[in-house]
Subunit: 622 residues, 2 copies
């Protein structure tokens, strides 16, 4: 039932001012720095299986996943930035990983050498199936990038073993992962290997989840861990997924699960399961998502809470959660062809999913606040508001390694003889359409400018369609020739010739986004939006105490280059600065006075790239 | 060096509309309900010292303090609401407690019967000295109320034993309490018993605190608890108290410590220590206090954090912390005669220190938020936003039992031949001035009305002074005869005759309080204040989504009776209600439209006394 196809990594070479430099930086700095950290912390050495008590760098049970995500990123990156040395390095890592596989197919550094007696003993907490999933994704990426089967075959052997351990049989384990991920990975492995048994296991994990008697409760009793008999909704395991009314629990787990559900639903033509995915998405975007596309508002359990609970200062909005929402939207867009998913995917891509990665590519937010004051402190490493080179739990840095090279594939899709431009980021795109290869070059400075020029480079002789999404934020556009508006995409259909050009200009007025009145902190405030980008104020441009600025919503905003961020366009305009008669009093009955000034705003995604200063996304409006 | 004297409990009979009903309710409901809970949970039975493993209600190491605070409250209450049955009941509890005293003087239910081997082994965590302090305060109160020495002598024996255990001697323990309280209690015990050795021990605890080598570090090493070797500032024990730059750590501990420091400083004429107290107070009111007088902004450690970190929704502002700030201000006011302390004491008394107690007197907030949304949930019992009849750690309910009957003593002070009216709450006051008894009746409806009438009931023949504080919030007043303004108090001095009347009217305009611009959430918002009361909006009067209301700051506000709260005066006036074109969208570029409406505000202290609905203190202003 899948409507569209994603374009494989390597068929879209981004050339835009926003993401193309990130793809380059990922190759040059983010992947190398993550590799270095994996070496430094012993994550690679762990695969030698020779760690002994007393040695440094005791393996941790989620380490395999970190290594796997970096390797998955290396594989994608090789398709965009060919590099023989890097390719050889990747192959060496693959060999190292494969060497740790056990005779029965099992592959996990921690439960092979540290707690072998506890293999599969605590699915709720131990991340074994989660690690397996990431290794599968890495193996599929390696196979797609290199054509080599080493890694793929290794993970197929692991998956073969898993199909014997888990399943409905009387002698099988009826459990499922505490941290979903393997569901979507098994679907990828089934696609790459052609072995449908893997997808069957994914479906088993999806449908078994939350069935009575609850596996995690029984497991907790076996393990004599009464403290584990609680909080089933944190794991999306309190009831069968089809009966879950909305998004709940740990946000990354939720979105990886929903992604796996979407994959299973598609392959199995399971409309009910797809409707469940739609219900989750709908709940998120209506009630549980930051304006940036960030999700999971609290550090307590890194989880969804309740409707409209989206505090700004304590926003958790984990980088991985922002990424996972984009991954889910991308799947849902291609499955359903519904442009709403493209809107949310774009919101995340240009804002909350990318904000966690510094421009120089080697420091990261784990959590993404919506406001930051220079005087702010945090005692908790993962919610620290200053970008860090690494974390004890370093899921976010490693996730960027694999996320960035996929962005081109999110931006474009194919459908029979249609090339879909979901996000008009400048690129050279080579799509295999039904009737043959169709290649276009999109030129433009999106997201900073709405002027787009599509030049056909290669085309079948028969008619093809070029379908360009008209973003919901765009109030007006002009095209060089008439197109047909179909469900949010402007479609140009004809027999193309190389050199044909379509020009399209999307108007990008500055708009003030207002929040639902249940988001009480945001009342009287707005987020400045231009195109897909949300803008924030930074102390480095505007001084501290950014809520002293009041910005008239209806005025002649202007774009301007951002000092210190080459190539980045910011916004400027009129503002009032409020001050008080008694500047020191904590509380006083003196009505603030206003004087006219100018504000300077930068894309939220790029905040804290010029040192650490205050930041404010929800600005006061008048 | 003490400037003023507090009036003993029992010499001030409140007759005002705000606190007098609370004093009555404390007698009729709060004390009985706390006694019942203490019985129900085994807190009294624990003093029989016959608990065995397997029995219900295993004693906890802070239970003694809960019982002590209720008994302290009963003793005060007997002086305001004489009740022979209650007095006999109190004596029975006193006998029960005294029966648990060990031959060496030690008195602690937990460490006598549950972990006798751990007596004094973990001063950092185990609350033994804290419990001892509360028992001392209860014993002194019982002695003052009844003249009976049973309880006092019992605690003197305990204190005698403590003076052998703790002190600078080579064979003594050089520790100090993890939770301060005993410092101020030992000073009270010294005053009541005349034994200065107790004050010396208080001084030792104060000065030994934070001296190198740090006792809590050494203790943690002895106990092999490396997890206890951190967070010394949580306990105000990272350095000597005189070297501490500002208020830090657990808020209740801090303010109990500062109160003990103030007591020690006064008795020992220790100007440096008093200056330390002043520095702490200054830091709190300039940087770390909610507008309500609430302190300790985070549930993590119930502690002070950093300057201007005063979030509204997650405000912890524990009820006990609000109470402790009032207790500290009261001490500092009487010690220094500086009216600033009366301002802050009044702020707490009428707002954040009393908000934790329901009007019917049997349900309590542990934490006091500054905003609440009906849809809000909390997974954590002590930060739950709905008043509860009791808590596992029930320090706040028991604290109200003893706090409420003392309020009259906070409101009035004496100084040689001056009666000081710190807070003009209607009352009959019998003060023992230097030249003889001086009694006045203050009539009026303060805090709802500023018209005050003082009638002299009894007076010495020689000149006396009546000194009435003119609150800082009062822009204008009128008196029936001229007085002299001296450091914030309007002083009338003469030879009085019984029946003499002084009339004073304090203007009570409605003012909008604005916050320091570092409190970014509050920008564009104000707190409505009239007299000492801060007002909030409640959903029951205004509907949900209270931040949709915008209130013009300069308008003709009116007082009005509050529906459902007999005797309470609220505020009303003009407002605009904002609404959006698309009411469901989480974020949309539609500028809200405004329509004129009316708002109704109630005293913050009285919120959530008409069911659970939304509450907003920082209202949007225009």
């Amino acid at each position: 039932m899948k409507t569209w196809q994603e374009l494989p990594v390597g068929t879209v070479q981004l050339q835009d001012p926003f993401f193309a430099p990130r793809v380059r930086t990922n190759h040059e700095r983010t992947i190398p720095s993550n590799l270095e950290k994996c070496h430094e912390t012993g994550r690679f050495d762990a695969f030698r299986l020779d760690w002994k008590e007393g040695m440094p760098n005791k393996p941790h049970f989620f380490w395999d996943s970190d290594v796997a995500k970096v390797l998955e990123g290396m594989a994608y990156d090789l398709q965009l930035n060919p590099d023989p040395e890097r390719a050889a390095e990747l192959d060496r890592y693959v060999d190292l990983i494969c060497s740790a596989q056990q005779p029965d197919g099992y592959l996990n550094v921690y439960f092979t050498q540290i707690e072998p007696e506890n293999r599969w003993k605590c699915l709720r907490n131990n991340h074994e199936l989660y690690c397996a999933g990431h290794l599968m994704e890495a193996a599929v990426a390696h196979y797609r990038a290199t054509g080599k089967r080493t890694f793929l075959d290794c993970l197929c052997r692991y998956a073969d073993y898993l199909t014997t351990v888990f399943g409905p049989g009387a002698d099988q384990c009826h459990g499922y992962p505490g941290h979903p991920e393997i569901e979507l990975a098994l679907c990828k492995l089934a696609d790459a290997s052609g072995n449908e048994a893997y997808r069957d296991l994914a479906r088993y994990f999806v449908d078994q989840r939350g069935q009575e008697p609850l596996y995690f409760i029984e497991e907790a009793r076996r393990n004599k861990r009464p403290e584990d008999e609680v909080d089933m909704s944190l794991f999306q395991a309190d009831r069968p997924v089809r009966d879950q009314p909305g998004a709940s629990g740990h946000a990354v787990r939720a979105l990886y699960l929903y992604s796996g559900m979407a994959d299973v639903a598609t392959a199995c033509d399971d409309r009910e399961l797809l409707a469940t995915c739609e219900r989750m998405w709908d709940d998120i975007v209506r009630h549980k998502m930051y304006v940036t596309g960030g999700i999971g508002s609290t550090s307590w359990g890194e989880r969804f809470t309740y409707d409209y609970d989206l505090p700004n200062a304590t926003a958790y909005a984990e980088s991985c959660a922002g990424i996972s929402l984009v991954l889910f939207c991308h799947r849902m867009l291609n499955i359903t062809g519904d442009v709403r998913y493209a809107e949310t995917m774009e919101r995340g891509l240009y804002n909350g999913a990318i904000s966690g990665l510094s421009l120089e590519g080697t420091s990261f937010f784990y959590a993404n606040p919506q406001v930051f004051a220079e005087n702010q402190k945090s005692g908790d490493g993962q919610t620290v508001r200053v970008r860090q080179p690494w974390f004890g739990c370093s899921c976010c840095p490693t996730n960027y390694c694999r996320f960035i090279p996929q962005i081109g594939s999110f931006a474009y899709s194919s459908e029979a003889n249609t090339l879909r431009v979901n996000i008009p980021a400048a690129a050279e795109v080579h799509a295999a359409l039904g009737k043959g290869p169709f290649a276009v070059r999109l030129e433009g400075a999106y997201p900073y400018d709405g002027a787009l020029a599509f030049t056909v480079l290669e085309t079948p002789a028969t008619p093809c369609r070029l379908a360009i999404r008209i973003p919901a934020w765009c109030p007006h556009y002009e095209a060089s020739e008439p197109g047909t508006l179909e469900k949010g995409y402007l479609v140009f259909e004809r027999c193309w010739k190389p050199g044909d050009v379509i020009r399209l200009t999307l108007d990008m007025p500055v708009q003030g986004l207002h929040a639902h009145p249940m988001l009480e902190e945001n009342a009287g405030r707005m987020v400045l939006r231009r195109g897909p980008l949300l803008y924030c104020l930074e102390g480095v441009d505007n001084g501290p105490m950014l809520s002293s600025l009041v910005i008239p919503e209806h005025q002649d905003f202007r774009t301007e280059p951002v000092a210190g961020l080459p190539g980045v366009m910011g916004l400027t305009g009129k503002a009032w600065r409020e001050s008080r008669v008694d500047p020191d009093a904590l509380y006083a009955p003196d009505t603030p006075v206003r004087e006219e000034t100018v504000f300077h705003a930068v894309p939220y995604a790029l905040w804290q790239n010029r040192g650490t200063s205050s930041m404010l996304l929800w600005v006061r409006c008048a």
